[in-house]
Amino acid sequence: MNDMRIVERDVDITENKITARGVQVYYGTNHALKDVDVDILDKTVTAFIGPSGCGKSTFLRCLNRMNDTVASARVEGEILLEGENIYDPKVDPVQLRAKVGMVFQKPNPFPKSIYDNVAYGPKIHGLTRNKAELDEIVEKSLRRAAIWNEVKDRLDASGTGLSGGQQQRLCIARAVATNPEVLLMDEPCSALDPIATAQVEELIDELRSQYSVVIVTHSMQQAARVSQKTAFFHLGHLVEYGETGQIFTNPQDPRTESYITGRIG
């Protein structure tokens, strides 16, 4: 675990972006997430780690109410985004998802042109008044996702024709284009090769300057490399949450220690 000394960790920001209190999630009769309390900081990368089925992806999908699309899912407790409960009936989940962008495990560009992929969000939310503004957003988003130089000459080409790493960065550009405040990433590198993974990780570190990033990952090295805060989930419980360096070098809970040393998982 020498990796974690590489990244400079400045968790001097203390402003909470998301505050979760007593979150319970049920899938039918299955109690998938039990009483989770978490404070996610602004302009910070927060990693969720834990063995498969521990509830980390479930919790991530609560943060932008993607669980609403699963008929059997039921969420209890409260999740505040800048002090506003996102499960309040007044909140429109569709508007919320524009503010809390999401990048998925498998790159899923739409079968449209690269330009249309990025312009999709701004178009449906009416963020631009004319084509020039839209062009600007597309370029800015692609630049921010560190893919502009690779695709600027073929914006009309299909997004599905790109390589896996490029597709994932395109999906990040697509999520960035709606100008979100929080970016959720569900194992964004698990379908990518090591080089593409390195590119995406570098990108995540850059995105930290503007967004609060939450990343679910199976790779502890990745969590150590990219995150400032780490939360360890096990069997639906949030076992331990703290600064990444502390979690990996000096875990407080024996379960965390067992997991990061490879005895459970």
């Binding site: 508007q95 962008g101 739409f110 079968p111 599905t160 999520a175 709606t178």
Partner: protein, 486 residues
């Protein structure tokens, strides 16, 4: 030996072969099946296949080829002036076949021996009367030449059947022995029967393709004959369809083609939106319970025979459109109309389009929808902007397949649209289609040398080419865009 008994014998031999082969394989390794290369059943299977399949293949081939050969030889006996005239030789052959089957019946009824039959001649005995007694009515007194031919026809048939039986049995036994002798512990029976099965499957696929080729060839040869006696430009460019059985008819394709396309257009205007909307509902909105009921019920429509749809058009839709729409608007007073047939064909095609579209929409990966929802799109935005564009090639393919069905529809048009070949724009007027005219040109007394009859083949060929092009286009579109989101 009849074909049925022969088949049973071959089959029995094959079944015996299965068990003998299986036990022989086991015996070769002293009953320890672990030392065999394949499971014991595979050894039996090879014997079964090698016994049955070649024998049955020979039998099928023989049954197809034998009548052709015999007919050829009988026609040869007719004498040149009859043999060259296609119609006369055909009539003569029909007589020969009828008398031959009459002689068969006579023999079965009266128990005559073959020798007695051979001595029978058309001059001496009242053949016509005796055949009438056993239920074979002949139009005229029996021509001695025809009678002799019928007798040799029977003999050739009997000889052919005999040779076939012998050859089939020999082949079956040979296959049996050969396959059995190959069996030993190391013999790779699993691979052999695998290969055998593969060739069997290839042969089955070949039959389907050969049938299509055969249909096209027969259509083509008659079409060429038609264009030999009727000018090709008249057929394609004459604006009148007016067949006269005394000759001098106008056989223009255009009014029929117009009717076909007009009715199909109306049908697609009905079927495409309803079908696609129904599919979007079942695939995206319906809860699983509703979907499991609604989808089969929609597909049930596809199982209703088109004749029943035709009745519906004739007694319900037609009069309704005439009384409540066409007459008040002054658009005519015909019960059968383009609108009637188009609407009903449209309804017929709804399940076809909705079922295919539903499958295609379901094939769009869930990750596409998640991506769209994750960006804050609503359900209908997701469907309109992501799911449908991704599914579009497949949907276009489904629409084109449905269109070729609409173009080929016959029964509903016959009962709903009438039989008047007209070029017009009024959808409440009776019109007709290519398919209806094919049927009407081929009903009644047929003379296969007049353009009025042969035109049916040219019409069929036209229809075939149109639907073939549509199908190829549909398949091309589906294939070209199929794996775009993989």
């Amino acid at each position: 030996m009849s074909v049925g008994i022969l088949s049973l014998i071959v089959l029995a031999l094959a079944v015996v072969g299965f068990f003998v082969g299986r036990s022989r394989a086991l015996k070769s390794v002293q009953g320890d099946s672990r030392r065999l290369h394949s499971l014991p059943g595979y050894y039996g299977q090879t014997v079964f296949l090698f016994t049955a399949v070649p024998a049955f293949a020979l039998m099928a081939l023989w049954l197809i080829v034998q009548p052709m050969v015999i007919d050829g030889r009988i026609v040869g006996q007719l004498g040149p002036q009859i043999a060259e005239d296609a119609t006369a030789s055909k009539l003569a052959m029909e007589d020969v076949a009828r008398i031959a089957s009459g002689l068969d019946a006579l023999q079965a009824r009266t128990g005559m021996t073959n020798d007695e039959l051979r001595d029978l001649s058309a001059d001496g005995s009242d053949i016509r009367g005796r055949l009438a007694e056993v239920g074979i009515a002949l139009g005229s007194e029996v021509d001695p030449l025809i009678f002799e031919m019928a007798k040799s026809f029977r003999i050739m048939q009997a000889n052919g059947a005999m040779i076939m039986s012998v050859l089939v049995l020999v082949l079956a036994v040979a296959g049996f022995v050969l396959a059995l002798r190959r069996i030993h512990g190391e013999f790779r029976a699993r691979n052999v029967s695998e290969t055998f099965v593969r060739w069997l499957l290839i042969a089955s696929a070949g039959v389907a393709i050969l049938t299509t080729v055969g249909i096209v060839m027969s259509l083509l040869s008659e079409t060429i004959r038609f264009f030999g006696i009727y000018p090709i430009s008249e057929f394609f460019f004459n604006l009148t369809w007016n067949p006269q059985f005394r000759g001098g008819s106008d056989l223009g394709l255009i009014p029929l083609l117009w009717g076909t396309l007009y009715i199909s257009f109306v049908a697609m205007v009905v079927a495409v939106p309803i079908g696609i909307f129904a599919a979007i509902y079942t695939a995206e909105y319906a809860p699983p319970k509703v979907r499991s009921v609604v989808k089969p019920v929609i597909e049930l429509i596809a199982g209703i025979p088109t004749v029943v749809f035709g009745l519906f058009a004739l007694v319900t839709v037609g009069p309704f459109l005439r009384d409540y729409i066409a007459m008040p608007l002054g658009l005519g007073n015909s019960g059968s109309s383009v609108m009637t047939a188009g609407l009903v064909i449209g309804v017929l095609n709804i399940p076809f389009i909705s079922s295919l579209t539903d499958d295609i929409i379901n094939a769009v990966p869930q990750s596409m929808r998640d991506g769209s929802y994750g960006l804050g799109a609503t359900k209908s935005e997701t469907i309109r902007k992501v799911v449908l564009p991704a599914a579009l090639p497949g949907i276009v393919g489904a629409i084109l397949l449905a269109a070729s069905r609409a173009i080929g529809e016959t029964m509903i048009v016959t009962m709903g649209a009438g039989a008047a070949a007209k070029l017009g724009l009024n959808p409440f007027e009776a019109m007709t289609t290519i398919t209806v005219k094919i049927v009407s040109q081929l009903t009644g007394d047929l003379a296969f040398d007049s353009p009025e009859t042969l035109v049916a083949f040219a019409l069929g060929m036209t229809l075939f080419v149109i639907t073939l092009c549509l199908n190829i286009f549909a398949l091309w579109i589906v294939r070209k865009y199929r794996e775009q989101y993989e």
